[in-house]
């Protein structure tokens, strides 16, 4: 908001050790995580449950203390600060609205603690409620609101205190699928309007891609990959990342020829030309990362395959084909006017140019 300097967040070799309640052994819930979040950017921590993303977020908020490393808010080291002394505001998975307050009092809570004068407080609350489209609901109790409205109250309550960083802990997971899509657009819009730094935790990859400037994929306490949604989707650096983001097929092959910009890979006895990201040598085994929409079935091509499933899905024709021993799932979008293969047909698979990636 106006007049306030934006701050970024820096995690410097952060680790968190927990005791496993069953075995009593210690393990790293978060292991040596370093990252820098630019002021005003929207960063998502994405990963399966138990990957350490929520723990990382809670360490930024101050609910947990890191066992190693230091967290910075702007230039300030905040390790020893309690949550109430940190300039962060969190939106919780369960919204955590105060059930004994109405909408106005919920939103006013943080402002009252900051001793904001009444007139200014009213003005700020009116403004923020307008932004989340809840004007006129000030005197409603929270249990008289729908899930989406509660979510927006939680958002307003966090934003109205103008924190340096907004933290989101899977805020949309309690909403139904449709509302989730509209709310994530909403959150993105509001964040862009205010230009506030945001850290967002989710396990929903579609949500992460739709909302973020940067995605950080975490697995077993470590960062698996960091990048823009496009980078992560098209150039995953590991099977885990490729598999976690979207549908994917892995085709194992052997590099038989390397040229300057492409190479030839032998998959199931057939040679295929693939654009070459650098670093592969002749004789090396590799994995071709093939997204379902990046494969084309035709009557001729490089890789012969057998159709084992053909299914009309509306937006696309869904195929399962066998390439050698490997099952490959394909999606042929807008199939109208093209040949539709049936189960038992033999077809040829080729890759859309520039759309496959090698590991």
């Amino acid at each position: 908001m106006a007049g306030k300097e934006k701050k970024g967040v820096k995690l410097d070799h952060i680790s968190k050790i927990y005791n496993d309640p069953k075995t009593g052994k210690q393990f790293y819930a978060v292991n040596d995580v370093s990252l820098e979040i630019q002021p005003g950017s929207f960063v998502t921590l994405l990963g399966p449950s138990g990957c350490g993303k929520t723990t990382t977020l809670r360490m930024i908020a101050g609910f947990e203390s890191p066992d190693e490393g230091e967290i910075y808010l702007g230039d300030q080291a905040i390790n020893a600060l309690t949550p109430n002394k940190r300039d962060t505001a969190m939106v919780f998975q369960s919204y955590a609205l105060f059930p004994h307050y109405n909408v106005y009092d919920n939103v006013a809570y943080g402002l009252k603690l900051r001793k904001v004068p009444k007139a200014e407080m009213d003005e700020r609350i009116a403004k923020i409620l307008e932004l989340v489209e809840l004007t006129g609901m000030e005197s409603r109790m929270t249990n008289q609101l729908s899930g989406g409205q509660q979510q927006r109250v939680a958002l307003a309550r966090a934003m109205v205190v103008e924190p340096s960083v907004l933290l989101f802990d899977e805020p949309l997971s309690n909403l139904d699928a449709k509302l989730r899509v509209s709310m994530r657009t909403e959150i993105r819009r509001i964040q862009q309007t205010l230009g506030i730094t945001a850290v967002y935790v989710t396990h929903d990859q579609a949500e992460a891609m739709a909302i973020s400037d940067q995605i950080i994929i975490m697995n077993k306490g470590v960062i698996a990959q960091m990048g823009t949604p496009e980078e992560i989707y098209h150039h995953p650096n590991s099977e885990f990342v490729a598999d976690f983001i979207g549908e994917v097929n892995f085709l194992t092959g052997e590099v038989v020829k390397v040229k300057t910009k492409s190479c030839v890979i032998r998959i199931a006895g057939h040679d295929v030309k693939v654009e070459n990201p650098d670093g592969f040598e002749v004789g090396q085994t590799c994995k071709v990362v093939l997204r379902p929409e990046a494969g084309i079935l035709a009557d001729e091509g490089a890789l012969p395959c057998k159709v084992v499933l053909s299914c009309f899905m509306g937006a696309y024709q869904n195929y399962h084909v066998m390439v050698g021993d490997t099952l490959v799932k394909l999606a042929d979008y807008c199939p109208v006017g093209r040949k539709v293969y049936q189960v038992g047909d033999t077809a040829y698979l080729s890759f859309r140019e520039g759309c496959v990636h090698m590991l």
Binding site: Q26, F63, P66, T82, P83, Q93, A96, M141, N143, V161
Partner: protein, 647 residues
């Protein structure tokens, strides 16, 4: 792994919150001082002897007896002619005739002949010994009381569990058609909260005693004797079974009916289902209920006092020893320790073993409502038994106001207000004001303290948390009598007999403290269970928005557990105004308490006045509960909000 930096950070964060640090510190001190310390003193007193003893000069001189004040070499404390204590080393004994005693206690004067075997020296003796325990077990009175207590505990708990199970089973399994009967069950299950401890004993005497309405008037029995073990047992069963009923009802509700339906489906009869499915599932729960009742029975003071006759239990024996001015202070302390050990062991088994087991066997929620038993051969006998018991209990409560209204129970059953008049002509009014005011002071203190303790225990991480939880629950296992003796020992001479805080002994303050200590576990337990149901992130979000611990507690936590706070308020008030066991040992003539007055009058056989007191007491308690329900209804956390939380 490398050093845990988080521990240091957490500590830093913890000490960055001075309000919480001070609160926890204060709590630790209070709990230690008013719960642990009195019990510790009791323990010390039972194994530590400190007394004046007359030793023969011979034994002192020959070194057979230890003389005190080692630092001055061998020396004894003796008295001079004016009875002032004087410490003199043994070397000086030769010429110091003035503080030596003859056998008959006469102080020897100069010139008297000294015969070392018949001359005595007064010595202050201090030593540690566990002698007191074998000594009290050899003591006939104590020995009898000990086994009496255990026997009574078994009979009562067994009876209470059986009756409680019967009620719970009928409530959960049998289709009770009559709404009046259902209502009656509700009344009976809430009565123990409302009832002062000895009301049932009182009406037992009125109905079945020598001049009893039923025994003498209706049945014409003139030598009926309700006093004794069976009298206590019946009264205790009726007092404690509602607790078992509530506990077992909760368990039965959690048994999935499809399990029993499966057994029925495979060909088991209803009785077979009960013995092979329902009962085994309930077993830990039954054990739990048994132990809880056992503790209550063993700790019960008022009923054995009133209706026990010559059947003494540990609680009454200790009371009589203390008030009877026994010289064997070590012995009395040892008895209290024995009583404490019994309840403590049971409490530990119950809390740490059975409670976990109960939770483990019955975790599931019933998947759907149970098809109630309609079968007449089951329904009618079970419902009848329960109705009869309920009617009996209700009858006993009705007897009390009539006891106060009849001119002379047993002789003249015409109505009059003379007992009430006598009550107020006496110092009845003062008794009510004293009890009322002291309980009223204790109530908010306890309610607030227990909410703070629950908040800290459920929502905060800090060292000493286990201690706070354990000690505040511990008071549940300490019989009132034991606590009373502990307070006498602990505070009569000030803390550690230094005179510090001696001022509170014999005042209203100590009574209020006892009220607080006695009600703390109940309030804390209800606070803890209320808080466990509140989403942790609600408090976290307040914390995150900038509120410190104290602010979070007052602005978020407390409003959310308002109901629990209010019920803690009233429960404490009710428990305090009806308390007797610990209080009766500590009360001084400056304060008249209703319960002690009732006990006094009942002892004297003045049942009319006792009933008049009890009637007004019940009325006060009932009014307090009605008021609480009204307040909760109109100002408590709204129903809608609670529904929301359980989503």
């Amino acid at each position: 792994m490398r050093t845990k930096q988080s521990a240091a950070l957490e500590r830093k964060k913890f000490f960055g919150d001075p309000v919480m640090v001070v609160t926890i510190g204060l709590l630790l001190v209070l709990l230690a001082l008013f719960i642990l310390y009195p019990l510790a003193m009791l323990l010390v007193d039972s194994v530590h002897v400190s007394q004046n003893q007359m030793l023969t000069l011979e034994s002192v001189l020959s070194g057979q007896a230890e003389a005190p004040y080692e630092q001055e070499g061998k020396a004894v404390s003796v008295l001079d002619k004016k009875n002032n204590p004087l410490t003199v080393s043994l070397d000086e004994l030769d010429g110091a005739y003035g503080y030596l005693f003859a056998k008959n206690g006469r102080v020897l004067a100069e010139g008297d002949e000294i015969d070392p075997a018949n001359t005595y020296v007064k010595v202050k003796q201090e030593y540690w010994t566990a002698d007191a325990f074998p000594r009290i077990f050899a003591d006939y009175t104590f020995n009898t009381a000990f086994f009496n207590t255990l026997r009574l505990g078994f009979i009562t708990s067994f009876g209470a569990v059986v009756v409680g199970l019967l009620f719970a089973y009928v409530d959960c399994y049998v289709n009770v058609r009559s709404r009046i009967v259902k209502k009656m069950f509700d009344v009976v299950s809430t009565l123990p909260v409302v009832s002062p401890p000895f009301v049932l004993s009182l009406s037992m005497i009125l109905l079945f005693g020598r001049g009893g309405l039923i025994t003498r008037k209706l049945l014409g029995i003139y030598d009926s004797d309700v006093y004794g073990m069976w009298g206590i047992a019946i009264v205790q069963v009726l007092t404690f079974f509602p607790v078992c009923y509530m506990m077992l009802k909760g368990l039965l509700k959690n048994i999935d009916p499809s399990m029993e339906e499966a057994a029925r489906n495979m060909g088991a009869s209803r009785w077979k289902v009960f013995t092979t499915v329902t009962l085994p599932l309930m077993l830990p729960g039954l054990g739990n209920a048994f132990l809880v009742t056992f503790i209550e029975s063993v700790a019960d003071f008022a009923n054995p006092m009133m209706i026990g006759g010559s059947y003494d239990t540990l609680a009454t024996t200790i009371y009589l020893r203390i008030t009877g001015g026994s010289y064997d202070t070590t012995g009395a302390a040892a008895m209290a320790v024995v009583l404490l050990c019994i309840t403590l062991v049971l409490f530990l088994i119950q809390k740490y073993y059975l409670e976990a087991k109960t939770a483990a066997t019955l975790t599931g929620k019933a998947s759907r409502a149970r098809a109630l038993i309609e079968d007449r051969s089951v329904r009618i006998p079970l419902t009848t038994i329960c109705s009869v018991i309920s009617a009996f209990v209700i009858l006993m409560y009705i007897a009390i106001p009539f006891g106060a209204l009849f001119k002379l129970w047993g002789r003249d059953y015409s109505l009059s207000l003379k007992w009430f008049q006598q009550l107020f002509r006496d110092d009845g009014f003062k008794a009510f004001t004293d009890s009322f005011v002291l309980s009223l002071i204790a109530a908010p203190i306890t309610a607030l303290l227990s909410m703070i303790i629950s908040y800290l225990v459920v929502k905060k991480k800090f060292r000493g948390k286990g201690f706070i939880e354990f000690v505040s629950m511990l008071a549940m296992a300490v019989p009132g009598t034991v606590l009373g003796v502990g307070f006498i020992r602990g505070f009569a001479g000030g803390v550690f007999r230094t005179g510090f805080l001696q001022g509170i002994y014999g005042t209203g303050i100590i009574l209020v403290i006892v009220f607080v200590v006695r009600s703390l576990p109940v309030g804390t337990r209800s606070g803890i269970s209320a808080l466990r149901q509140i989403d942790k992130s609600i408090e976290e979000s307040a914390y995150d928005l900038g509120a410190g611990s104290a602010k979070v507690f007052t602005s978020v936590t407390l409003p959310l557990i308002k109901d629990s706070f209010l019920s803690g308020l009233v429960t404490t008030f009710v428990r305090s105004i009806t308390a007797i066991s610990a209080i009766i040992l500590l009360v001084t003539p400056r304060y008249l308490l209703i319960t002690c007055r009732i006990n006094e009058f009942a002892e004297k056989g003045a049942y009319g006045v006792a009933c008049a007191y009890a009637t007004i007491l019940i009325a006060i308690v009932y009014a307090a509960i009605v008021l609480m329900n009204l307040v909760i209804k109109y100002f408590g956390t709204s129903k809608k909000m609670r529904v929301k939380e359980s989503d």
